[in-house]
């Protein structure tokens, strides 16, 4: 009964979305507040209906109702409750319902957003409604998660054990909030193109309306990607955290476009300039989200992260992507030439710096797009198969970003309209000098000495120190008394703290990524109990291996002692090899010893034999210096995004809901 309610609610949501679209469009054309108001009601009701459907799906998973095909295919009675619930969004059908839920909830929030002018709101509601219609129709007609099985099996096929992990339980919801949050930016951009006013007051206001949505989506996406990378790091057992894998790239493209949007929306809000460009980026960010969904779900690209793949439905997603993006960009091409105006600015100015930021972020985004799709295009064109992997991005994406990071700290210190480059240079001189020292220290501290890695360490230090310099400048540190500086620090808007924190977080990430990539040490050996593997400063001794029984798996569980080679505290880690009988798969559970900023990363491999015939296990050990910073940096960035959202200035133009 509950399952049928869910199925009904999903159809109801589709009908409500159709109503929302029609009433909003009609209300806009007839200038009828009654119709437009009814569209807002439909949007809120649609969100409620999808929430009911999603709740029903979670319920079916929680009670293991195997008469539902989707539950039977993705769940199992032995699974812990967390993974039963998480399996609700682990499959194609379930993840699509989650997508629709986020889409309609954001649509409802848009309906309640305050201070939006009548025309803009109605047009945006119609656009958001149309997106809802497309995705809900896709869910209802091709991917119904509530389809029944008759007869019902006694046991389910279980979820891929790789996905049975706390990080992965929360990764999709966060990622989807980010992906789909950009739909509101998309709708607001389409609405702005339709309403298309070239007057000076419209675009700054529009920039203020669109910014919180971009900020929230970007922060969610940052958190989601970081969690995914962390999962890959400790669950795949390869010692790496980013593989430039197509699915990773698919989530990274909207992130880059979203980051560009965040920055260009500031220019539009503050100066009314770059209106066309900001609109373009708003369309682009959600287009990349849809492209990501298509790439991941259709299986056109092979990836270690692709689960729940289905080519035929992929084609439907491609059609949705083509229709929405095609229509939106056609509208853009038609209307954009009119979007002139806004404040003028000199090349050296805050606006100029933000334009540079956009230049590098979009070029980087294009690089990722090219690297991801090129093998497909080439194979279609002449049948040649190539692989594009980490070395390609190291030679293209990384230099682009390095140049952007070199310029970054100067941006926030430049004045609007016309900046004073010499003044900024003076204010950053201390930070630049210290960054050079950091690079030198990095060169001395790590073995073997590598000039490029040392430069990377300097660059990370430059970003952190540049952010600190900005704060010091804003609170006039050392130029006024400490009490006065403190008063100024308290008076700084949260948005300013957000900027500084996000840029510092980026620096923290760069430090971690550079040091880990440049200086990690790996060792592998087949060892019997009591023998050791040595990696750099650490040695790891295999103490014993037992067979343990988990809720839905059996494991060989190894206890290993990690100690510094030249003496020092020894710590015990557990590394497991788990076997899941339900799906017949084996996964690794990495043993991680956190040593300050470093990780000692231990993987228990297959059982073998020593030369003498005693049982032995292949053990791989990585010493990953500063690996902690790789995940800490983006976490700081996501928090910084949240902090900026709390800024009073961003809350002025929009409803209360979004600030949370």
């Amino acid at each position: 009964m509950i399952v049928e309610t869910g199925a009904f609610a999903l159809v109801l949501a589709l009908v409500l979305s159709v109503l929302q679209t029609v009433m909003a469009a009609a209300g806009r054309m007839r200038r009828s507040p009654v119709l437009a108001g009814a569209a807002q009601g439909a949007a809120i009701a649609a969100a409620g209906a999808v929430a009911v459907a999603f709740g029903a799906l979670i319920f079916a998973f929680a009670v293991s109702d195997f008469s539902v095909a989707n539950v039977a295919a993705n769940s199992h009675t032995d699974k812990p409750m967390l993974y039963k619930v998480a399996a609700a969004w682990g499959s194609h059908e379930g993840s699509l319902v989650l997508w629709c839920l986020v889409l309609t909830v954001f649509g409802a929030a848009l309906a309640r957003a305050r201070n939006l002018p009548f025309g803009l709101r109605a047009s945006a509601m119609a656009t958001q409604g149309l997106l809802g219609v497309l995705f809900l129709a896709f869910a209802v007609f091709t991917s119904n998660p509530f389809e029944r099985l008759n007869p019902a099996p006694f046991q389910g096929a279980s979820l891929n054990p790789l996905l049975q992990d706390p990080a992965l339980a929360f990764h999709p919801p966060l990622l989807y909030c980010g992906y789909v949050g950009f739909s509101v930016c998309f709708s607001l951009a389409v609405a702005a193109l339709i309403e298309g006013r070239a007057n000076a007051s419209f675009w700054p206001a529009w920039g203020r309306w669109v910014r919180p949505w971009a900020l929230a989506s970007w922060a969610f996406l940052t958190a989601g990607i970081t969690l995914g990378a962390f999962w890959a790091y400790y669950e795949l057992g390869w010692g790496g955290w980013w593989f430039w894998d197509p699915v990773e790239n698919a989530s990274f493209m909207p992130w880059l476009a979203g980051a560009a949007l965040l920055h260009s929306a500031v220019v539009t809000e503050r100066r009314g300039a770059l209106a066309g460009w900001t609109t373009f980026l708003a369309l682009l960010a959600f287009t990349f989200s849809m492209l990501g969904a298509f790439l991941v779900r259709s299986g056109v690209l092979t990836s270690v992260h692709a689960f729940a793949v289905d080519p035929e439905r992929g084609l439907m997603l491609l059609a949705i992507l083509g229709v929405t993006a095609g229509a939106a960009f056609a509208l853009f091409a038609w209307r954009a030439p009119r979007l002139t105006g806004g404040g003028q600015f000199a090349p050296v100015s805050r606006e100029g710096a933000l334009v540079l930021n956009n230049l590098f972020l979009t070029a980087a985004c294009a690089t990722v797009l090219l690297g991801t799709l090129y093998p497909l295009i080439l194979e279609a064109a002449n049948g040649a198969t190539i692989s594009v992997g980490p070395p390609y991005f190291a030679l293209t994406f990384v230099p682009l970003m390095a140049v952007a990071f070199l310029i970054l700290p100067a941006g926030p210190l430049l004045a609007w309209k016309r900046g004073d480059l010499k003044g900024v240079g003076q204010r950053l001189a201390v930070a630049a000098g210290l960054a050079l020292l950091v690079a030198l220290a990095g060169w001395m501290a790590f073995e073997p000495r590598k000039a490029l890695s040392a430069a990377g360490i300097g660059l990370g230090g430059w970003l952190v120190l540049g952010a600190l310099a900005e704060i010091a400048e804003r609170i006039r540190l050392f130029r006024v008394g400490p009490a006065e500086s403190l008063r100024r620090a308290r008076g700084l808007p949260l948005g300013a703290w957000g900027t500084v924190l996000a840029h510092a977080g980026l620096g923290v990430f760069v430090l971690g990524a550079v040091v880990e990539t440049g200086y990690r040490v790996e060792a592998a050996r087949t060892v019997a109990v009591g023998e050791t593997v040595t990696a750099g400063r650490y040695s790891v001794r295999l103490d014993d291996v037992r067979v343990v029984e988990g809720p839905n798996y059996l494991a060989e569980s190894g206890r290993l002692t990690v100690s510094l080679r030249d003496g020092g505290a020894a710590r015990v880690v557990t590394a497991e090899r788990r076997f899941f009988p339900a799906g017949g798969q084996t996964t690794t559970e990495v043993g991680l010893d956190f040593r300050g900023l470093d990780d000692v990363y231990v993987v228990l491999g297959e059982r073998g034999q020593t030369a003498a015939g005693a049982p032995a296990w292949s053990v791989r050990v990585w010493w990953n210096p500063w690996a902690r910073l790789i995940f800490l940096g983006p976490a700081i960035m996501a928090l910084a995004g949240g902090l900026s959202l709390l800024d009073r200035r961003l809350r002025l133009g929009v409803g209360k809901r979004k600030a949370a």
Binding site: V304, T367, I386, Y392, A496, E549
Partner: protein, 163 residues
């Protein structure tokens, strides 16, 4: 009973899902071994999904690692090892595609994108400078109003450059 069965199943699963590949035997020469490992990360396991042979547990990845080690031990250069692999498995095996006719767009595309976006943005700001008449006094006043209401600064002596 169930438990015994599960353990038996697990034993099968843990040990014989695939015949375990021969364990890696590192080269005795540390410099050669380091070269081999550097190559492993750039070479794709041909049956896997976007995995380098350094990462893949597949049997063929182990074979490919052995192949690379053998060639390096035989005194071949990195480039020669790569050539051999390409001869066997095609360009697909390299994570860094070769620069040739079909991949020019791939390799020079990023630079082209940088130039294209740069030129586009410059043109956009140029055109605006040429075409847009200065704001009238009334418009300026309205703009200032809006900016002031949006700025909402708490710090009274902040310069306009702040934030």
């Amino acid at each position: 009973m169930k438990r015994a069965l599960l353990i038996a199943l697990a034993a099968v699963g843990l040990m014989a899902a695939e015949p375990p590949p021969a364990p890696d035997r590192p080269l005795p020469d540390a410099a050669q071994e380091a070269r081999a490992r550097a190559l492993f990360t750039d070479i794709r396991c041909v049956v896997c999904q976007h995995e380098a042979i350094s990462d893949s547990p597949a049997g063929i990845a182990a074979d490919m690692r052995q192949l690379v080690r053998d060639e390096i031990a035989a005194g071949r250069t990195d480039a020669q090892v790569r050539e051999d692999l390409v001869r066997r498995y095609g360009d697909f095996v390299l994570f860094k595609p070769p620069v040739r006719g079909g991949t020019w767009l791939l390799w020079f595309g990023p630079l082209a994108a940088l130039l294209a976006v740069g030129i586009g943005l410059v043109a956009l700001s140029r055109r605006r400078r040429d075409e847009t008449p200065a704001l009238s006094a009334e418009e300026e006043a309205r703009l200032a109003d809006i900016l002031a209401s949006g700025a909402d600064r708490r710090d009274p002596d902040a310069k306009p450059s702040d934030d």
